[in-house]
Homo-oligomer: 183 residues x 2
Amino acid sequence: MFEITVVTGNVNKAKEVASFFEGIASVGHEKIELLEIKGDDVEKIAREKAICAYSILKKPLIVDDTGFYIKALNGFPGAYAAYVLDTIGMNGILRLMEEKDDRSAYFETAVAYADESGVFVFKGRVDGQVTLSPRGEMGFGYDPVFEVGNRTFAEIEISEKSIISHRGCALSGFKEWFLKNRA
Amino acid sequence: MFEITVVTGNVNKAKEVASFFEGIASVGHEKIELLEIKGDDVEKIAREKAICAYSILKKPLIVDDTGFYIKALNGFPGAYAAYVLDTIGMNGILRLMEEKDDRSAYFETAVAYADESGVFVFKGRVDGQVTLSPRGEMGFGYDPVFEVGNRTFAEIEISEKSIISHRGCALSGFKEWFLKNRA
């Protein structure tokens, strides 16, 4: 069976990919220290990471990068979402959003697949709103303050979330391409 | 005369270096698109940028990277200072600092010099406080909200600032090393 290695420090990401490719490909998991480029474009970041990882592993692999973009904050925290969560946190985001009428925001993920033919990037995006306060116990990261319809991502079961989420959409796009071109 | 190329998109940075090396070395200026690595360590970022720039130019050069670290915000905005200024701005920083008693912060610059012998990094740091509101018309970036003693960096003449600033200290360290080892 075709093998795909998910390059990540997060074993849950590898599990999610495995569930997408059940019966299609076998999914492994490796953690490599990759130098990430600075910038606000998840597609470019994922592409460079994939090139770097492939130069080390030399076997079919995927990497991903996710950004969280808030319109009223000029796109902040963008591709720096993880760093911002570690420093000012969700409370910092909510404070910056006080008195902002436009609360629209989106998540975007780029999944980059690399093999001997090159690098192929698949994007997924989900639009929603920044809530006034955190709600829900599931998920991780900004999920409690990001709502689609009237539920936050932390109020949606993981199985449902992986269908509608930015990451789920990017993985679906990749899966469709993979079935046509590699399976 | 020995030639040093300052790799930067900011002509004022090149001018500042030139003033430090008057009579010692001739200072040129080139703009190259460099992939910057993501991370919160200005020394590492400057070092990688210098390696990348030297692989292109193959002549003695310097690059630098600066971070702004606020203690009460767990080091935010750190090495992402420029991105944060472009998105949430100084007002965003002041909003995040509302009700914070500890207003201590520091600037840190790493200057990386590369030539055929390798890469050498020189750091400078200046400690101060985040003000309650912006003051002063000079300088750029976070200068109006960063005070040392009772003046903000935007209230200090450029000639004085370049002696006490993080960048000035890093350049002084480099100059001292250069006079001993390269002049």
